[in-house]
Amino acid sequence: MHIVVCVKQVPDSREIRIDPNTNTLVRQGVPAIVNYYDLHGLEEALRFKDEQGAEVTVISMGPPSADKALKQCVSMGADRAILISDRAFAGADTLATSYVVSKTVEKVAQEFGPVDVVFCGKQTLDGDTGQVGPGVACRLDYEQLTYVEKVVEINDQAKTITVHRHLEDGVEVVKTKMPVLITALSELNKPRRASLPGVINASRYKPIVWTTNDFADLDRAKIGLKGSPTIVSKTWVPEPRKIDTKMIASGEAAAIASELVAALWSTELPTRLGW
């Protein structure tokens, strides 16, 4: 069994602020973290490795500094980490990203053995699209199982996999054939904390780095900015909706309540809601 986990290093969005004077993002000093959902994919791969034995390769397309994210994955127990890094990849949208990531999975399969399962996160905290996973699956012609909240069974002999997909109104139990690409939800598991030997091992580990030159058949028209059909035409900070708040601030609870009820009943609400 060979499992590939796709991870992305993202700025910790909780820490990103908007500069109120310039209306621009303050990214300075914002720590980079491994995309939260990707860690759930990794954990699932590692659990499978612990229980049945598997080789786990993590891949990430990003700047050289993303090797920190890969090292974190190695500290948790990944066997191998590959950083796909090249200026030419910069500015990629999901279409161009899924192209490079799929090419990487193909190359990983060639060099380190056929791939049975690819894990992606449900979505990234920065790109936030959830499109790269399906894109990679399509390009590799793998089956795709998105928004997986539970892996019920992986049958390494029959090469089948059964999962629970999370939908708005319920859970779908789906079975398919490997190779398969799964996008992971946080409900899937709780990512482990690396052991101390794991951390020490990772801090000495050097991820494999591939640039455009390492790929035999990369179509340069499909990577980076050039390969990205979408362009960001503008960004802005939304004006908060202007509302005249009526404060019902003082008085006994009963008085407040009757004032509110009177106010609500003076609107169209009772008719529209059939009260």
Partner: protein
Amino acid sequence: MAEQQNDKRGAGKVQPVPEQDFSDYAGLMVIVEQRAGVAKKVSWQLLGEAKRMADKINAPVYALVMGHNVRHLADEAISRGADKVYLCDSPVLEQYRTRPYSRVSLDVIRTYKPEIVLVGATYTGRDLAGAIATHLPTGLTADCTQLDVDENRVLHASRPAFSEKMLATILCKQYKPQMATARPGVFLELAADSTRKGEVVSVSSPMSEAEVVTEVLDFLELTDRINMEDHEVIVAGGKGLGNAEGFKLLQELADALGGVVGASRAVVDMKWIDHDHQVGQTGSTVRAKLYFAIGISGAVQHVVGMQNCDVIVAINNDPEAPIFKVSHYGIVGDLYNVVPAIIKAVKEKRGLPFAANTANG
């Protein structure tokens, strides 16, 4: 393993496309999502928005309906604004699976060439749109909350970025169709108008069951999983409740108003209530007619999910709480003091009975 099967597998590997001429692409298409013959609300919301944009550039509105025994949805799509509906009614589409659904979609898009394709940003919609866009290939903007089209028929798809702190407008000028998934609960559907006329074009599924390797074994409907977007009155509680028990009180208010309870992420994280109730950036975006925010501070990630409700009432003991800025009515006070009184007043007003064990104050 996989290699030998490739040819058998549905959509097949993505092929490089030669330079294309897109001049004959026209119209806006909405892919209608349904389960068991019932359409998702977001589909009609998108049709409403597509119609608005279509009127602006004088273009037709198409709907693509896929499923098994779903003819009635084609009619409904017309009543909701579609001029023409492509209908693929086939047993292989009984349940949603990526390959057969994307094959039909690709065939229809390639044949009928809509200029803009909109899909609901639901789990299924995102799954499908991601696959279609890759195969076409074209640009896809995810999770939009604002859509517009300019005189050059360029789609301006705007979506939140960086934890909702900003909005970004994204264009796709060089490829067609221009694709976007859009959030449920954001756009307004047109009221169903059965007098509207439209054409239904039947298309067949290029894939047969034998070619599909994915099986849906079961669907576990979660009766307690509620869809916040579907409700008109939401009584949401936050960390100010102090404990999970507090939701009982809110449920009582929700019952009195004919609504459901919602929640901030803080309380979902603490497992006081299930994630399905969460409103906000990582929960649902709601457009309720009445929204109570009780013991919720009003963090931007929460506000983006509820700010479009018609009437918002906030109850918070901190007069500085940011939630008041987005509320129509603000009550400064201890919720355990105020809410029972409101329950009582509402019940009196509506002539509802008081339960014996009700905490009324």
